[in-house]
Subunit: 400 residues, 2 copies
């Protein structure tokens, strides 16, 4: 079987082990390595309180080359003070030691419970156990994917091939995240690898743009964690002339990267805690793009509507209510709303739609809501999912 994991692009090794940080004994420590050194870009949470790993990775990202990323799940290493910061640095040091590089050439990411110190003996043994397992096999790539999961029920991965100046280029990625997913980097943890050759600044721009139109447009519960991190490593080994300007090759790369991230977003939304359906809210006729996105987010974040979706109930009144209270400009006499292609509300009044057809649409695994505000020409969108009793159970029982 062809490798379609994060080790698929040329020049990447991975490994994943169970270090014991998770009491369940599930995999919880992963390494992702580029032995020849990768150009790196990253995006981080905009939460004002960030994990130790985010603080350390922000510093290390200044290095010209990055040789690896060390990730643990089961413990966020956030709100852990100076000891937490020292522990995050130690994870980089230990990994760098095994790779024979500088600690500042290694990035680190953590996810899990907030406010507990990392059990460093277990982490140290885990890194030592993972290092000899590093390989470019698909099995190693998947082991890494498994090691970053928390409440995810499914492993998430995506893969794209493209040709840049007649040379085959590969991009691959994995993401974890099922709850605590809100706007502005709804990634929780995202790792992308590519063998494209591209300058550091363009790599950063491409990552921001791709994430901005995909993972930053998903809300599961409207909040952003202390640990959100998205890392893109480019080995440059594909063999095409390096991309150093926003040329056609750059556009091709960006398009493939955005598609790949959108693919991951769909996987995340459908595996969100307790979720059974996902939807896209498209808002048109807005005064500005920002207002369109704001109104779309208000619908995607509205608990009452998310409950109705869970019940397969086309309660469009809750869509209109959410849009009306979102603070955006609208013309009440011109507002319209469609479920897929079915108008349920048109020019400020309910239509004579077939309730059965509306129920069918909203009971699908995926559907689209389109709202027209009737005041301008701008549009925007957001992804959301239903809210189930299962979400509450998962998050009421998650142990601190």
């Amino acid at each position: 079987m062809k490798n379609d994991s994060v080790t698929a692009p040329q020049g990447f090794w991975a490994a994943g082990v169970a270090s014991g940080v998770k009491v369940s004994g599930k995999p919880d420590l992963g390494l992702l390595v580029c032995p020849t050194g990768a150009t790196a870009a990253a995006v981080f949470t905009t939460n004002k309180i960030v994990s130790a790993a985010v603080q350390v990775s922000r510093e290390c990202l200044k290095s010209r080359k990055v040789y690896g990323v060390v990730v643990n799940s089961g413990n966020a290493n956030a709100c852990t003070g100076k000891l937490g910061l020292a522990n995050a640095r130690r994870m980089c040091e230990l990994t760098a030691g095994h790779l024979g590089v500088e600690p500042r050439e290694v990035l680190v990411a953590s996810t899990g419970i907030i406010g507990h110190q990392l059990p460093m003996e277990k982490v140290t043994r885990g890194i030592a156990a993972a290092a000899p397992l590093l390989s470019d096999s698909q099995e190693s790539g998947l082991a890494f994917c498994r090691a970053i999961m928390t409440t995810d029920t499914k492993l998430k991965k995506a893969y794209r091939e493209l040709r840049i100046e007649r040379t085959a280029v590969t991009i691959a990625g994995t993401v974890k995240g099922a709850g605590m997913i809100g706007p502005n980097l709804a990634t929780t943890l995202l790792f992308l690898t590519t063998d494209a050759a591209i300058s550091k600044s363009l790599l950063g721009t491409a990552l921001k743009e791709a994430v901005g139109d995909s993972l930053n447009r998903l809300t599961v519960d409207g909040h952003q964690s202390t640990n959100d991190t998205g890392i893109l490593l480019a080995s440059g080994l594909a063999g095409h002339p390096p991309i150093t300007s926003p040329s056609r090759p750059y556009e091709q790369f960006l398009k493939a990267l955005t598609e790949l991230c959108t693919d991951l977003v769909h996987q995340m939304a459908l595996d969100a805690e307790g979720a059974t359906r996902m939807f896209q809210v498209v808002v048109k006729g807005a005064a500005t793009k920002a207002q369109a996105v704001q109104a779309a987010r208000a619908v995607a974040d509205y608990p009452l509507f998310k409950c109705a979706v869970h019940g397969g109930d086309p309660n469009w009144g809750r869509i209109i209510c959410a849009v009306g209270s979102s603070g955006v400009q609208l013309d009440p006499a011109k507002v319209s709303c469609k479920l897929d292609d079915l108008y349920v509300f048109r020019n400020g009044a309910t239509t004579d739609f077939k309730a059965k057809e509306a129920s069918r649409i909203i009971s699908q695994r995926q559907f689209v809501i389109t709202v027209h505000l009737g005041v301008g020409r701008d549009s925007g969108f957001y992804y959301g999912c239903d809210l189930s009793a299962e979400y509450v159970r998962i998050n009421a029982d998650y142990h601190t």
Copy 2:
């Protein structure tokens, strides 16, 4: 038994009947009347899409005196276009006919499902049935309270007595609302009566202030309905010299009114859909009062924290996460957090608190969370409640 319902202040009659708007056959039509004419004040939803009743009441509020309010539950008469508007006006006309006053001297309020036309035959019969039942008895007052309920499981009422210049003055109120409760008038429907004599402009100021520090500080699910309406009627029959300036009598009246509204807020929070506990989030050390309120609201609105509260789990990490992503200024090294009087986080690091004690606090029916941001001197608060699987069930099954 002493009357402590909305008919307790001198000069008020009430009635409530089952008109058939609710298919369940529960009470759904109420009248609240001041035969001598009342000075009236009201606050309405800031949703840009409002019910027909809100549009009509905004107009009628301009009348010098208001003689009555007609309310239906079971149908919001929102998103119902011109016919809906005509129906709301018709409700005022019918009530005015029974009272022998002008239609513009009657206010109207509706609550229930959005987007369905009112069954006017039933409403007409209901008003005709209620009018002869009008009386100042407690039973009539309670019948009105019952007629405005939707998913409320408990009738909500509050009562205060005060002395203004040695004269006994009474204020009473009722509120309905269990879901779709968000900031800026989280009242859904609120009706207050008093026999105080007070000028129309001061009555309006008092209502805004009292609601601003009570009902506007409660979030159940963060959104505001199309129908939120709070009405305060003053008969002026208590016999004290009229309040016409922001004097000591005004301050006494405002204090009693705010206490009464806060009492109603507690009843609402504890009867919120599926809720089993309520909490107050107090934020101190903020750069501005607005930022303190913003951070407090972020915690009270955070689904992950609301789930933890439901589970009786002192997951303070989610409090810190919500505050950090709320967009307010804070000093990560100075942030602190208390559950009641127990510090769980101090100066940016976890404390060595007893987990059992934290669990006990968060498992109470009511508790207080205090967060210090470490950057200024301003403070603010918000009320919230837990999020349960029951909330989802109620709102997934609510029929459109």
